[in-house]
Structures are given as structure tokens and as C-alpha cells.
Symmetry: C2
Subunit: 156 residues, 2 copies
DNA sequence: TTGATAATGGAAACCATTTTCAATAAGAAG
DNA sequence: CTTCTTATTGAAAATGGTTTCCATTATCAA
């Protein structure tokens, strides 16, 4: 019976400690929120979600953890132009790899999963070569298409 | 001898008027700055540049114009994570179509033009199909790779 | 030239994100 | 289990890029 007692669910702790960081209650609960959702949440969204369970976790910590996760390459930070950043766990259990269509009018975004296979092939090669050429340790990527959604188009 | 008298250089005026907007001195000067540069400038960068010639153009107007240009699909707005947005004229005379490698450590970005041809083929098809499927009027796109640059990697 | 109204600029307001700092808790060592 | 070092945290205050307000000015169709 491996790992009784502590048994703090998922193995994120190891990941953190492996990078020289500590696993804490706030961090664990933020990971929980991120791995359960299937949408891109803002820092405040996450804060409110975490708050339901641990009402003493502060918004500041949420921001700090999100920054840390981004550095570690576990999370991607998106900017859809509405003034607040969104975060997604890479390969976030739920919705698989995807990209976004962003409306420059209402700033809403649509997630799409089309072409992912063709993309992957192309992106993997690009990633490999760019890493070498520019001495970059590439952790992840984003592709976003900008334009006007159905509703915003007819408004104008 | 077509268009004497006014002869205000480039044909941006028509583009603006065609969309129901007016061509003004601030707008013209912002377009001038954008079409001459070959790097992604922040609103303030543009403001300072414009200010050299027209010291009475306000920062507010720069923001407003940039937003307008983004809506019109003439400009792309980038977020490299350093807290200020960057703007680039599409097909901005100088550097051609390109994408960015963004360092999550120092927030600096590297512009690359590799793979653009292969990309284009793929993206055009994606753009066409996504437009139809999601009823989106796609104006442009971005691709960004995130990771750590050479310097930031050895720091940690 | 004129008039309707789009566009502007400066100052004030916004508000997401960051910084500060004293208090707390993770985890290695004993 | 207790101790000790120090990473982490939370609350409040500060920051600073971007927006909003509004009286004034300028564009351009008629």
C-alpha cells in the first residue's frame, strides 16, 4: 500500500520539489482547480474557485503560483485582449490540445481543435529547429486567429 | 496630374475613409511611424516617435488609433508578458511576415522568419475552413513559442 | 463657407498585477 | 517528535499601462 497517510492526491508535489519548490496547500488547491476545469480561467476566476474550499488563500498567491507554473512550463498564459490574462494547464486533462479564435470586437474567444494533427507535425519540426538555432528552451506555444465573430460583424 | 495640392503621401487616407473614418494628422503620423519601423513598438514608443514631429499628439490618441487599426485588421497587437502591448503593421514594409519566440524569464522576444512558407500553406487552409465553420471574419494570426532564452536558462 | 459630428488631448479614473513586509509553515536534519 | 532555516503566504498599499470624461477642435460632405 504505497503512500498512505499523506496521500495528497495527485503527484504535483514531486514536480514542485523537483524544481526546488515546496508543495503547499494553496499551490495544491490551485493545481486542483486547473486540472479539473476545461476552460481558460483568469487569476480571479481561479481565486474564487479556490476560495470555495480554502477561504484563506489570497489572490496574491494565485498570481504568484500562476507565474511560477508558467515559468515551469506547466501552464500557458493567454491574452485575449480584454485586459485580464487567462491560464490553462498544458494538456489539461479535459479539453486536449487546442488553439483560439479571438474576436477583436467583443474580445471573446472560441476554442478549436481542428487541424491539430497537421499542426503538430509542423510545429514539432519548427520547435526542434528553432530551439537549436536560437538556443531557446521551448516549453510550449500558442496560435491565435484574430478577427470579428458573427455577432460583432453584423453590428458594424 | 492626379491629386496635387493635398498629396499627403501614402494612401492610408482612402483606407480610413473607406471604413467611414476620417484621416487626421495624428492618424497619419502614427501610420508613418508604423510603416517605417521594423520592430514591434509599444504605444508609448509610438507616442514618443510621433511626438518628435507633432509634439501635440496625445498618448490617448495613440491608444485610440492603435485600437482602431487593430479592429480594421491593419495592425496586430502582441503580448509578450512584460505588461505592455506591442503593435505591428501587417506586412509592415520592412520585416516581412514573421512570428516570435518569447522568453518567459526576461520577457524579451526574438523574431523569426523560418518556416514561413510551410506555415503559410497550412495557415491559409486553416483560416479558410475556420472562417466558415465558426462564422469568423479572420483578419490575421499570431504564432508564439514560449520558453527560456539562453541567458535565462543558465541563470537558474 | 458652413455645419454636423468625428476626433482630439489632458487630466482623472480604472483596475489587473506587483511589491512590501511581518507572520507562517514546509521539510531537512537531528 | 522537535528544531531550525528559509521559502511561502496574505493583507494592504503601490504601480503603471490603458480607458474614460468632456470641453475644444478639425475633418469633409454639401
Amino acid at each position: 500500500m504505497p503512500g498512505r497517510r499523506g496521500m495528497r492526491s495527485s503527484g504535483w508535489g514531486g514536480k514542485f520539489r523537483g524544481c526546488g519548490y515546496r508543495m503547499t496547500v494553496p499551490r495544491q488547491s490551485i493545481m486542483d482547480v486547473l486540472s479539473v476545469t476545461n476552460k481558460h480561467l483568469s487569476a480571479e476566476d481561479i481565486y474564487m474557485e479556490v476560495h470555495k474550499i480554502y477561504s484563506n488563500v489570497g489572490l496574491t498567491t494565485v498570481y504568484r503560483t500562476l507565474e511560477l507554473l508558467t515559468q515551469m512550463g506547466l501552464v500557458v498564459k493567454f491574452d485575449f485582449g480584454d485586459g485580464r490574462a487567462r491560464y490553462e494547464l498544458i494538456e489539461g486533462s479535459k479539453s486536449g490540445h487546442h488553439h483560439h479564435l479571438v474576436c477583436t470586437g467583443c474580445k471573446r474567444s472560441i476554442e478549436y481543435t481542428d487541424f491539430i494533427n497537421e499542426e503538430t507535425e509542423f510545429l514539432e519540426r519548427a520547435e526542434k529547429e528553432l530551439s537549436k538555432k536560437y538556443k531557446f528552451d521551448i516549453k510550449n506555444h500558442i496560435i491565435q486567429f484574430y478577427g470579428l465573430c458573427d455577432k460583432c460583424r453584423e453590428k458594424k
